[in-house]
Symmetry: C2
Subunit: 309 residues, 2 copies
């Protein structure tokens, strides 16, 4: 059940390393890992102009519907946005909504030690429809009921204990994707905890999380994207999830770590490093861009694409 055949899942383009990494991770066979170490990846990433948003521009104000942007969500924008579609700001995160799949394309949040403690409590939170999304394109609790999937947070509730509203906002169904319960409660939860632990060692921690819909080869030799849609509103069930972690050190150096996990049960004894993938793989598969935006804001980016800490 845990076994994913190496090379069966594919990320668009030349890089097959996400599939490989996942295959290797789930097989638990480190000697047989087909990760292609890509420490020199950034040398191959063309930095071409793409739209980016600086906090405070007219566009930001416009796209955020003229809302006041809280300081934490403004800070979350520091390294730009990976795309510019349907951007919404919330107390604890900034997100881009994918109206076709009825879930976020990505959610960016900033984690900090003081944000991880506080008076807020999950027991006051309920999952709720996002009424800023048109009713045609909105997930409801009824869509999840009886589906067998958890309502998996993208920006995690436990990242935002600093303020009840900040935690409440993580319960919008636009910040949620259908997630395998075993994954949600084990390996993915470990990854979220690990992200929180990074706030002890880095000056700033930014986390961008989102769904992936990866193609896989079928017996006819062709590649297909296939994913379930559930409920009356056809909420898409991602095949995988990504987390891109941007870490700032005191001296301004920036590190990048990017993870992909399949939306299936994952043995939580497998070390998290096994789910590291080259950022290029996520950029190709998601249609998003991270590195060009970051490169505009720092000259000191060290990408960590595989291997331990």
């Amino acid at each position: 059940m845990y076994r994913v055949i190496c090379s069966k899942w594919f990320i668009s383009g030349v890089s097959l390393t996400v599939g490989a990494a996942i295959g290797a991770s789930l097989n638990g066979d480190s000697t047989n890992r087909c990760i292609n170490p890509s420490h020199g990846l950034l040398n191959r990433v063309p930095v071409i102009p793409i739209p980016s948003v600086d906090a405070g521009t007219d566009l930001t104000t416009y796209q955020l519907g003229g809302q006041m942007v809280g300081s934490r969500s403004t800070a979350a924008m520091k390294y730009g946005f990976p795309s510019l579609a349907n951007i919404k700001t919330r107390e604890s995160y900034v997100t881009s909504y994918d109206p076709r799949n009825r879930t976020a394309a990505w959610v960016i949040e900033q984690l900090s030690p003081d944000g991880l403690t506080g008076p807020s409590d999950r027991k006051f939170c309920d999952f709720k429809e996002d009424d800023t999304v048109h009713v045609y394109h909105r997930a409801t609790n009824a869509d999840y009921r009886g589906s067998g999937f958890d309502r998996g947070h993208l920006a995690a509730a436990a990242n935002h204990k600093w303020n009840q509203k900040a935690m409440d906002d993580t319960f919008y169904l636009s910040n949620v994707s259908p997630q395998n319960p075993n994954l949600n409660q084990n390996a993915w939860n470990n990854l979220e905890q690990y992200c929180r632990s990074l706030t002890k060692h880095y000056m700033n921690v930014f986390v961008c999380t989102g769904p992936l819909y990866l193609p896989r080869q079928e017996p006819d030799g062709k590649m297909y994207v296939k994913y379930q849609v559930m409920g009356r509103n056809h909420v898409a069930v991602p095949t995988h999830f990504f987390k891109v972690v941007i870490l700032e050190k005191q001296r301004g150096e920036v590190e990048l770590r990017s993870y992909v996990m399949p939306n299936t049960p994952v043995d939580n004894k497998i070390p998290l490093e096994r789910f590291l993938v080259p950022i290029e793989s996520i950029e190709r598969a998601s249609g998003l861009l991270f590195v060009p935006n970051i490169m505009k804001r720092t000259n000191s980016l060290l990408a960590i694409t595989a291997g331990g800490k």
Copy 2:
């Protein structure tokens, strides 16, 4: 081969009428049509605020990368945009690019009698990569080679004979989707010709075209979106295509006609009216919105969702 089982393809939400319409059309059995006539559809469409773009706003200028917007593409914006992601303007159309699927989400153009004639010639045109799209998310001619799919124009070349640059711009691969050759050369071509013929009877004709990725039920009883991706860049092969036609009469009345065809061979003897579907079906399935934008700009919208002219 032409037979699509009624109710096997689904549009998100309550409306199954696209699937129904296609099933009925392809079965060629008008007595067995399961179209739900929805002439009163607009009464059921909630008009809630959504972002929209008026030509000439700062946002337009920003998102169009500061390019000068030609008068024809400015006119194409008259009824707003169905979404605000990755908008590009070209000589003959305005488009929103879907970087994950490596093709447009939609393309809007304005057709007029004088635009349909002119000196330009296809023989001077070549399909070309859109180098405004990041190389990770861009379709190439190599992706199409040997795939068995045509490079199917979304904004048709023959709609823009008025100017060689206008025709050339329809050959960007961002204005192209992988299309079944039989469909491209027969029924879809007929639909394009029909749209051109409407310029004789209406003051203004706006056409919005795009791909759809519709879910279908599998033997396990669950719904799945499944589509092929082809070539090194994993260019998505849509399951269906839509055309939304906005027609303006002299007295300012606006009519709407919306069509869906499957990306399979379609008998070109089937009348085009059989492919009419409620606009709501396209709005739900595509993640786009048309009616709220139009309603902001006219009080006189007559939606034609099924039936003949």
